[in-house]
């Protein structure tokens, strides 16, 4: 089995889905000849033709509107928003149009659209490239928000997203694109949506997280293990809707929870996770829920991002605090 980076796994998944279903279309800014600014669509136009993989004019609302129109004509669009910070330009088409079409039309039309976008901090981008805006999406009914934490999940989750008849926002953390490789089967496979995954089993405390923070949490868990603290790491994978069963199960198992997100603390995904725990597992808690998140400021200027982003050390500190409560 080949070891692939996450960006290569994504390219492979796109290629396989394009070949599997003639209605799949991949498009966006620079995705054609250039293969995407991160090369996520590298070689796809040559391999599949410019009818299937194509560049669009530079306008995000136009890209999402194009996707909606193409879906109405029977296609399965996979548009790319070049950086997710640009989503503000197309909030209406995503949150006001695509995601509510099933509701608006009483189920008589569907929107099998997968909107892919790079996001996430730590790679020294200009402003509005790195923001974690999944919380904005997570509050939108009718939309799935999927965030893989590595190559294997990325390939299988993307296949599931594209095959889904519902709209999916599929967010790819930039720091995960090339930072590590994983064994990824050559053949096509799916990883189910709406299901979290235990990335590390443990008995003393549950870290619940997603995206790049899964990596930081696993590193923190290794360090904590040396001190005899056995941490479980639950990767949400789909951050909306939540896998409430998996969240409840891990908290009931360990009795302690630290919720880790790269996004700002206010009203994010982990606020909802805390609510699920409070509703369904509060009697299993032996300590307050711990939170590790970014401060409630806009995403910082890039030279300051290392001091702003949550990291392994923050997680270790918080876990010890909750363990020793």
């Amino acid at each position: 089995m080949a070891k692939l980076s996450m960006v290569k796994a994504i390219t492979q998944s796109l290629d396989q889905e394009i070949k599997r279903d003639e209605k799949v279309l991949v498009f966006g800014e620079d995705v054609g000849r250039n293969g995407g600014v991160f090369r996520a669509t590298d070689g796809l136009q040559d391999a599949n033709g410019a009818d299937r993989v194509f560049d669009t004019p530079l306008a995000e609302s136009g890209i999402s509107g194009l996707a909606m129109g193409l879906a109405l004509e029977g296609f399965r669009p996979v548009p790319e928003i070049q950086f997710f910070g640009f989503v503000f330009e197309t909030m209406d088409e995503i949150a006001g149009q695509i995601s509510r079409t099933g509701h608006r039309m009483g189920g008589s039309r569907k929107m099998p659209i997968t909107i892919r976008a790079p996001f996430g901090g730590g790679v020294h981008t200009p402003e509005l490239h790195a923001d974690s805006l999944e919380g904005l999406m997570a509050q939108t009914p009718g939309l799935r928000v999927v965030i893989p934490s590595g190559p294997y999940d990325a390939k299988g989750l993307l296949a599931s997203a594209i095959r889904s008849d519902d709209p999916v926002v599929f967010l790819e953390h930039m720091k995960l694109y090339r930072s590590f490789k994983e064994e990824v089967p050559e053949e096509s496979y799916t990883v189910p949506l709406d299901t979290a995954d235990v990335k590390r089993a443990g008995k003393d405390l549950s870290i619940i997280t997603y995206g790049y923070m899964v990596r930081e949490s696993l590193k923190a868990a290794e360090e904590l293990a040396k001190e005899g603290i056995d941490v479980e790491v639950l990767d949400l994978r789909t951050v909306s809707p939540l896998d409430e069963e998996a969240i409840t199960a891990t908290v009931k198992k360990t009795g302690r929870a630290v919720l880790v997100q790269e996004a700002q603390n206010q009203a994010g995904v982990m606020g909802q996770v805390a609510s699920v725990i409070a509703e369904k597992a509060i009697l299993s808690l032996e300590a307050p829920i711990g939170r590790v998140s970014a401060p409630d400021t806009p995403y910082p200027f890039s030279e300051a991002e290392e001091t702003w982003l949550p990291n392994k050390a923050d997680i270790v500190t918080k876990v010890k605090e909750i363990i020793n409560y």
Binding site: T56, S61, G62, S64, G69, D92, G102, G142
Partner: protein
């Protein structure tokens, strides 16, 4: 020293307004009179009368609390019906909220249009082969979607078009530019219709843009644009038919601006037009009324009589009576149904909510 003359650069060529049937019901442009049979001409006018009657009845039904949201259409019959009359049932319509008459003429049963007005989802449940979206509320959103439908039509090698409507205010939206520009870049079969009725609620057309004509906005997108007398059904029909055939033949999109007027308020939800326009202005436009000139034209041709119009109005009134009755017989909406339609593949969190609401609803 020679200077760059920006004053010179600012001026775009004068836009001509296509006109075929003038206010007196006289043909003023013999060459462009559309090839319509007597039956088609009569049908076109009947649809315009239908729309006028529907406007009057909808206003009353709204006042009685039997209809909900209503955006009056009276004055815009040539623009709305004339353009829609050029399309086929296989063409895809993306209407805005004032474009209910076109949507119904395109095939939406009237009772469903009434359900939409009342805020009932059954108004938006469309059969698979009905080529339409429900009326768009967000100004301009339908323009980018139109580019997408048109690109899909092109990819599916169909010989149809996507057509959409917005108003003069809509041309200020980013989505307006993105829509016409995308369709142009992809040479997709779309017909973009701007119904310039002079006001975006209260803001007059001249406050929207420095452009002398909205049709000129096509120039920047590299697509044809045409301005039409929007009170002249023959001119609107001729322009739209030509645009439709041009786009369907693979030549790319067209932008049409119709110069029209709404006699009534923006909507029946509290707008008072006296705050922003004079009754003299309304009178001026009513002298250009689209029905008066078409009625004269058809009467002169021996195709129409007062008796025919009275009989037709009765028929339309009966259709409206039947439709509103059917509307009022539809079962109330259930939250559990909303939940079921939020996703195709319903996740466990929503399944739990469906169970909870279903239990509540059976109490």
């Amino acid at each position: 020293m020679k200077k760059i003359d920006f004053e010179q650069l600012k001026h775009t060529p004068e836009t001509e307004t296509l006109s075929i049937l003038d206010e007196t019901g006289t043909i003023v442009n013999e060459d462009l009179v559309p090839e319509l049979t007597d039956e088609q001409l009569t049908e076109l006018f009947k649809q315009m009368v239908w729309s006028r009657v529907l406007n009057e009845r909808s206003t009353k039904l709204n006042r009685q609390g039997r209809l909900g949201f209503f955006a009056p259409t009276s004055g815009e019959e040539a623009s709305q019906i004339g353009s829609n009359f050029a399309m086929t049932p296989d063409d895809f319509i993306l209407p805005a909220y004032r474009d209910v008459p076109q949507l119904v003429q395109h095939g939406l049963p009237l009772y469903q249009a009434f359900l939409w007005s009342r805020g009932h989802v059954d108004g938006n449940k469309y059969p698979d082969d009905f080529q339409a979206l429900p009326p768009q509320i967000i100004i301009g959103a339908q323009y980018v979607q139109t580019a997408g439908v048109a690109l899909g039509i092109k990819k599916n090698a169909k010989k149809t078009v996507a057509y959409t409507y917005t108003g003069d205010g809509g041309t200020s939206q980013g989505d307006f530019y993105e829509g016409i520009n995308f369709a142009g870049a992809f040479q997709a079969p779309a017909v973009f219709i701007v119904q310039n009725n002079g006001y975006a609620i209260s803001v007059p057309r001249d406050k929207q843009t420095a452009a002398p004509a909205l049709a000129q906005k096509a120039v920047a997108a590299g697509i044809p644009g045409i301005q039409v007398d929007g009170m002249d059904a023959l001119a609107v029909y001729a322009a739209t038919k030509a645009a439709r055939d041009w786009a369907a033949a693979g030549n790319g999109p067209v932008l049409i601006e119709t110069l029209t007027y709404r006699y009534g308020p923006h909507t029946l939800s509290g707008d008072d037009p006296k705050r922003y326009r004079t009754s003299a202005e309304v009178d001026d436009w009513q002298r250009k009324d689209p029905l008066i000139r078409m009625r004269k034209y058809l009467t002169d041709k021996g195709l129409w009589t007062t008796e025919k119009e009275q009989a037709w109005e009765e028929e339309v009134n009966q259709e409206i009576n039947d439709a509103i009755k059917k509307t009022e017989s539809i079962a109330p909406q259930k939250v559990s149904d909303f939940l079921k339609n939020t996703f195709v593949d319903t996740p466990p969190t929503i399944q739990a909510e469906i169970a909870a609401y279903t239990a509540k609803e059976s109490d």
